[in-house]
């Protein structure tokens, strides 16, 4: 299986969970950074480009849905996968309507998570390629004038 090198951010208030999942993703040669609340996630995004965010819905302070809205407003190309508890599937549906790529039930199966992660990365990459092509076309047209 080919790998797309991308940067992934993991956002969850449960530190042990973030740490363990980061270790697993790193073991699969992923480039992972962690944030422990919504605000921290947005702050990091201002400085560091990220391709896919795995975002917990239930967090104290700014919750996952609010964080998602802000991400999509400021960085619409970033793909977001939501992590939800069994009791909050409704918020997953809301999140998808707000532009989240997909969602996972906690505790998430790692195989399922990597699959969805790869799909998200692929979509991000294809989108970027389309944008680059479009930009190239513009440049080409400008150079002809």
């Amino acid at each position: 299986m080919f790998k797309i090198s991308s940067k992934i951010m993991l956002v969850d208030d449960e530190k042990d969970f973030v740490e363990m999942l980061s270790l697993r993703l790193k073991e699969n040669d992923e480039n992972v950074i962690a944030a422990y609340n919504g605000q921290e996630c947005l702050d990091i995004l201002e400085k560091t480009p990220v391709d896919v965010i795995i975002l917990d819905v239930k967090m104290p302070g700014m919750d996952g849905i609010e964080t998602l809205k802000q991400i999509k407003k400021r960085h619409p190309l970033v793909e977001v996968i939501l992590l939800t508890g069994h009791g909050t599937i409704q918020s997953a549906v809301e999140g998808m309507k707000l532009g989240a790529f997909d969602f996972l039930l906690k505790p998430a199966d790692f195989k399922e998570l990597t699959e969805k992660l790869n799909n998200a990365k692929k979509r991000k990459k294809e989108q970027m390629e389309r944008i680059q092509k479009a930009e190239a076309a513009i440049l080409l047209r400008q150079s002809k004038i």
Binding site: E14, D16, F17, M20, L21, L23, R24, E27, N28, G85, H86, G87, K106, P107, A108, F110
Partner: protein, 386 residues
């Protein structure tokens, strides 16, 4: 008192040793559409009542052998609901009063005026109907009260259990990913020659299995609590569900399990086929749970019957088995979360709790009746389309 016409059939036993009198009176009563059987002795009357109970006994006080008063006492002792009208000899007020004291409905003195007797019969019959209606109401109120008590306890237990489940889910995720991380490391090429690598894998595999099991329990718990509270007011998933079709579907799904024990599952229903206003997937889940329980509780060659019925107000699904039954101590706890009589790894004790949560959430009722070694009957009542 003004008596409405009695349309229902009234069954009477006429007891008198004077054959002519008895036969003529019986004939005249039959002409009025009243079902009459006859006995010439108190002893015979008691035997006949054992075989076929009647609504009202009309009985002479003075009889050879067991007299009317003695027979009356025995009838009232054994057949509480049966009313007795005593017939006394001319001017024998004393006997009539003694009869009433011993539980007779009233007395008439011979010679009997037919109109008078028919009126008394109707009065006695109305009394029986009134008592039956009262008993039914008392039983109904008692049932509602019991269900409320059970519901309150289950809601309280559910609230606590769902809190626990939510809190358990996070550490479970950590455990799962910790074990998974180690497994990933063990897969690396440089780890292939690690000493006792198989033992590590074995241990990690067990951790994964246990986490999956615990995760399933917390999910069931959260689902049960959720269905009985938040989704109660969400009728958008409700459709008109043919109970016949959904029962057939459920039976088809559990048939392989039943076939292993040679258990037959019957579906009893009548046209027009009943339907309910409900969520088909959730109802199917409950039916599967009840059927699977019944199959597990029933010995080889037993029988499980699903019967359906409907009225203007509600639809009913009854799942009945000929299984081992549920003891008195257990039956009051059967819908509680984690309550099980199965071996630790055979059941989580969540099935009926989830079913209860679903049915309550669907605006219905679920109840159970059981007799040890005879079998168990679950009754689901659901709303119908108005």
């Amino acid at each position: 008192m003004d008596q409405p016409d009695v349309n229902e059939e009234i069954n009477i036993l006429l007891v008198d040793d004077e054959n002519d009198f008895r036969q003529i009176l019986a004939k005249r009563l039959k002409r009025r559409g009243i079902e009459v059987r006859e006995a010439d002795r108190g002893e015979k009357a008691l035997r006949m009542l054992e075989e076929v109970p009647v609504d009202i006994v009309i009985m002479d006080i003075k009889m050879p052998g067991m007299d009317g008063i003695e027979c009356l006492k025995r009838i009232k002792k054994k057949h509480e609901l049966t009313e007795v009208i005593m017939l006394t000899g001319h001017a024998d007020i004393h006997g009539g009063v003694e009869g009433i004291k011993s539980g007779a409905f009233d007395y008439l003195s011979k010679p009997v005026e037919l109109e008078h007797l028919v009126r008394k019969i109707k009065q006695a019959f109305h009394k029986i109907q009134r008592i039956l209606a009262e008993k039914k109401e008392v039983a109904f109120k008692e049932q509602i009260k019991q269900q409320m008590v059970v519901a309150e306890r289950l809601v309280a237990l559910g609230t606590m259990a769902s809190g626990v489940a939510h809190e358990i889910n996070n550490p479970l995720a950590v455990i799962q990913d910790s074990a998974g991380w180690l497994q990933q490391i063990l897969e690396k090429p440089e780890m292939q020659s690690m000493p006792r690598r198989d033992d590590f894998n074995k241990g990690l595999e067990r951790i994964n299995k246990a986490v999956k099991r615990a995760g399933k329990i917390t999910q069931q718990l959260l689902q049960a609590v959720k269905t009985q509270t938040t989704e109660m007011a969400d009728p958008s998933t409700f459709v008109e569900v043919s109970l016949h079709k959904i029962s057939e579907e459920a039976i088809t799904l559990v048939e392989p399990e039943a076939a292993l024990k040679n258990i037959s599952i019957k579906l009893e229903t009548q046209e027009p086929y009943p339907s309910a206003w409900t969520d088909p997937l959730q109802l199917l889940q409950v039916l599967l749970n009840l059927l699977s329980n019944s199959i597990q509780a029933t010995d080889d060659g037993g029988e499980v019957i699903v019967s359906l019925s409907t009225s203007l107000e509600e639809a009913k699904i009854i799942v009945q088995d000929t299984g081992c039954g549920i003891s008195k101590e257990n039956i009051s706890r059967i819908f509680e979360p984690f309550f099980t009589t199965k071996e630790a790894d055979q059941g989580t004790g969540m099935g009926l709790y989830v079913s209860w949560g679903i049915i309550t959430g669907l605006g219905g009722l679920i109840s159970v009746e059981s007799e040890v070694n005879k079998g168990t009957t679950f009754t689901i009542t659901l709303p119908v389309k108005k």
